[in-house]
């Protein structure tokens, strides 16, 4: 394996090495007594609800139908009775319908050895429509349905499997890579059948991953590239820059997928399983026993926290996703969705001082910006409502990675102002 590489400009090393004691494969989390399944777990419109209150649903049954492009089917993750259909807040903001399923009755799949579907005889379009039926979406926010992500691409330059985790509290992808490498290799073959990429790379930040099994003879030729754990190494531009140093492939010639997305595609095609489960890392200083768990979609985060031994002390903040790009929640009933990679309960020491002080123009924000912007100037312009001038200075290229906010010694709310701007720009119909 080559020595670790990284991207060129800016970036930060996130302090604090979270101590993961867990060894061995991820355990299944307890099944939720009441699964709260959001009908919007993808980038497009909320799925149309096709069940009624009181109806009995089986495990894996469609409860929400995709409604137009970028929308995706939603399946029941547990068997049971629809107890409620209600409007529920989304962690990233906004609201959507949620179907609450009370666990009841028998499992169709759990504990049974499913048949393996011989997908090699399937055509490209057949694979794509199967992925659509089974509700497979990109597990990275905002959850682009895999069908929409892949169907327009014929000949792709490079396929990157993004196992990079450069924040201390994230571990789900690395765990999946270790637990399920044969399945992932098969999943990569499925994706490659759709995209026929010239080059396929698994990008990782951990040295342990070099123990991945060498691709078998009939398997795909996949390179393993080790990257430095510098944030935001996992973002598309930085990832491509580090993996493809010679700049052979342009950004629109690259497809980047998380291992969890590939694994969902594998399960959908080979095991004929809809996307009802995912790996979630549950951690943070306020938690007794951090763990990576295999969780049914719709499990309330409170259940996971209880399963991890509950809180050590009062948590100061609950975060879904990651401390630099995630969303904070205060509702322990907030459910796991297809794009929730982590639940993080921070204690007050980890949250630290949020006291804002005046900007001392130290320039650290510009130093770490991976897009080479000057967050200080952009913030001043946005605050004065001079959006056009800010755009001239590159505001549109801000990826809201949060590096500037992380280093700011004055705790200026830089990122929040940029995030609000990038929403109002409405760049993409996500």
């Amino acid at each position: 394996m080559r020595p670790s590489r990284t991207f060129r400009h800016g970036g930060i090393r996130v302090e604090g090495d979270f101590d993961w004691e867990q060894r061995g494969p991820a355990q299944n989390a307890f099944l939720p007594n009441g699964a709260v399944i959001l009908l919007k777990q993808h980038s497009g419109k909320q799925a149309r609800c096709v069940v009624r209150r009181g109806e009995y649903v089986r495990e894996g049954m469609v409860i929400g139908r995709a409604d137009g492009p970028f929308s995706a089917n939603v399946h029941s993750s547990v068997p049971g009775v629809v107890r409620d259909i209600r409007i529920s807040p989304l962690p990233e903001g906004g609201r959507a319908e949620a179907v609450v399923v009370a666990l009841e009755g028998a499992f169709d799949r759990l504990g049974r050895r499913g048949e393996r579907y011989l997908w090699k005889s399937m055509g490209r379009n057949e694979i794509l429509s199967t992925l659509r039926d089974r509700g497979v979406v990109d597990t990275e926010a905002p959850g682009l349905p895999l069908f929409d992500l892949l169907s327009e691409r014929q000949e792709t330059g490079i396929l990157i499997i993004n196992a990079v985790e450069c924040e201390p509290y994230l571990r789900a992808e690395a765990h999946l890579l270790a637990d399920k490498s044969p399945e992932l290799m098969e999943g990569i073959s499925i994706i490659r059948k759709i995209l026929s990429p010239k080059r396929t790379v698994i990008a990782t930040t951990r040295s342990e991953d070099s123990s991945l099994p060498p691709p078998s003879d009939d398997g795909p030729d996949v390179e393993l590239v080790r990257l430095e754990a510098r944030y935001p190494q996992d973002m598309p531009r930085q990832l491509l820059e580090a993996v493809d140093g010679s700049r052979k492939f342009s950004p629109d010639d690259a497809v980047i997928l998380r291992p969890s997305t590939v694994f969902a595609a594998y399960e959908a095609i080979v095991l004929a399983r809809p996307m009802v489960e995912r790996y979630v890392s549950v951690s943070g200083g306020a938690l007794k026993r951090p763990a990576v768990l295999k969780v049914r979609i719709g499990t309330p985060i409170g259940d996971l926290i209880e399963e991890c031994g509950g809180f050590l002390g009062p948590p100061a903040r609950l975060v879904l996703g990651g401390v630099l790009r995630g969303h904070s929640v205060h509702d322990l009933d907030a459910p796991i969705t297809k794009t929730t990679s982590a639940v993080i309960a921070l204690d007050s020491e980890e949250v630290g001082s949020l006291l804002r002080s005046p900007c001392i123009r130290c320039g650290r924000c510009a130093e770490v910006c991976p897009e080479r912007l000057d967050p200080d100037i952009l913030f001043r312009l946005v605050k004065r409502g001079l959006r056009l001038r800010a755009l001239e200075l590159g505001l549109g290229y801000c990826t809201v990675c949060g590096a500037c906010g992380y280093v700011c010694p004055s705790r200026v709310p830089l990122v929040a102002s940029f995030a609000a701007e990038s929403h109002s720009l409405g760049e993409a119909p996500r």
Binding site: A254, P314, A316, L332, G352, I360
Partner: protein, 378 residues
């Protein structure tokens, strides 16, 4: 609905680097204490009173400005640091009222009137020093020799830098700054003599060089001068700590020292009739307030550019101005005024930076017009 109590919510990021602006400023102040301690050792209790008066004036100024703006800002350390720096630039025996007035002016007018920390365009400590230099020129040049050097014959009432400059015209062509000082009656201390001898025997003679006496005294701080600026080695040690912990960035000091040393080496010998490329860089760098200003006042982030290119330009300008002011200015010392002049140029330098950013953004948008980011291009 289950809710956890007392959770803070808000936007990402939810993790921060531990250091805050206040910890940066207090850390800088702490690093200065050894150099200040040396000054108090050299000049005794009166020096401590001068610094206390200066810090007191700064804190009162901050409290008054804070009261007017209805916010309490003493905790951020910036007033304390300003007071400390002003005090350290004072001659040891000065009336405490002068540093107190200078600090009060620096913090309330130069900083507070512009909106407090982060909003001032001129470094407050330098403004305070300039304020007292202009208002009390005689008191600000009343130097004394440290107590422990009292037995040695010295150049009383002048710093080495000031003495060398004022006697340069009368000196025999070909003499060095040190020659002038020795001719004026300066005697090196015992430490200087023994260290110089050891260095010459062990390092310089084998290399065919020879270190004249006196430099070790300059380095250690065995000389007359402002009470906090004496010991070059303690200031350098503090700078190394702050640089390695990235509290101050290297660009500004490196650029100042580089440009100043280059000009001194090239042209510094002219005033002594030694011709080009014969300047005494070591003497110039180690004497006066140069090091304290270079490491602790010029890199003040508020009043210096924030980009690397900007900092290098700022430093080069400052270093050149220090040389020009020291050579042609009204007094031997020019560091403070050089930085103040470059403070004025910071908005212009920032404009250059913004233009560069704009060009980059325009180039990037031309580059991505074909597509967008991976996966998100729709």
């Amino acid at each position: 609905m289950r809710r956890a109590k007392n959770l803070s919510i808000g936007d990402a990021p939810y993790a921060f680097k531990k250091r805050t602006s206040a910890s940066l400023i207090w850390g800088t102040a702490a690093a200065l204490l050894p150099a200040l301690g040396w000054g108090i050792y050299c000049f005794g209790f009166t020096a401590a009173i001068v610094v206390a008066a200066s810090v007191g004036g700064a804190l009162v100024g901050e409290a008054c400005a804070g009261a007017l703006m209805r916010r309490f800002t003493l905790w951020d350390g910036s007033a304390f640091l300003t007071g400390l720096l002003v005090g350290m630039a004072m001659p040891p025996g000065i009336s405490p009222l002068i540093p107190a007035a200078a600090s009060l002016f620096a913090v309330s007018v130069v900083k507070g009137a512009f909106g407090g920390l982060g909003s001032n365009w001129m470094n407050p400590a330098l403004a305070g020093i300039a304020f007292s230099l202009v208002n009390w020129p005689a008191q600000m040049r009343a130097w004394a020799t440290p107590h422990h050097l009292a037995g040695l014959a010295g150049i009383s009432g002048a710093t080495p830098l000031g003495f060398a400059r004022s006697h340069a015209a009368a000196a025999i062509a070909g003499s060095s700054n040190m020659d002038i000082l020795v001719a004026g009656g300066m005697r090196a201390s015992g430490i200087d003599a023994s260290v110089t001898e050891a260095l010459n025997r062990g390092i310089f003679s084998p290399l065919g060089a020879d270190l004249p006496g006196g430099y070790i005294d300059l380095l250690l701080g065995n000389k007359a001068g402002a009470l906090g600026e004496l010991s070059a080695i303690l200031i350098l040690a503090a700078s190394v700590i702050l640089l390695s912990r990235r509290v101050i960035r290297w660009e500004v000091p490196a650029s100042i020292i580089g440009s100043f040393a280059l000009l001194t080496w090239a042209f510094g010998g002219l005033s002594l009739g030694n011709g080009f490329f014969a300047g005494d860089v070591l003497f110039s760098v180690l004497s006066g307030s140069f090091l304290l200003v270079t490491f602790f006042m010029a890199p003040d982030p508020v009043t210096s550019p924030s980009s690397r290119a900007g900092m290098l330009i700022f430093g080069a300008g400052t270093g050149s101005l220090v040389f020009l002011l020291r050579t042609f200015g009204a007094s031997a010392e020019g560091s403070a005024f050089a930085v103040i002049m470059m403070n004025c140029a910071v908005p212009a330098i920032a404009r250059l930076d913004t233009a560069a950013t704009r060009r980059r953004a325009a180039k990037a948008s031309a580059g991505t017009a074909r597509g967008g980011n991976a996966n998100g291009a729709r």
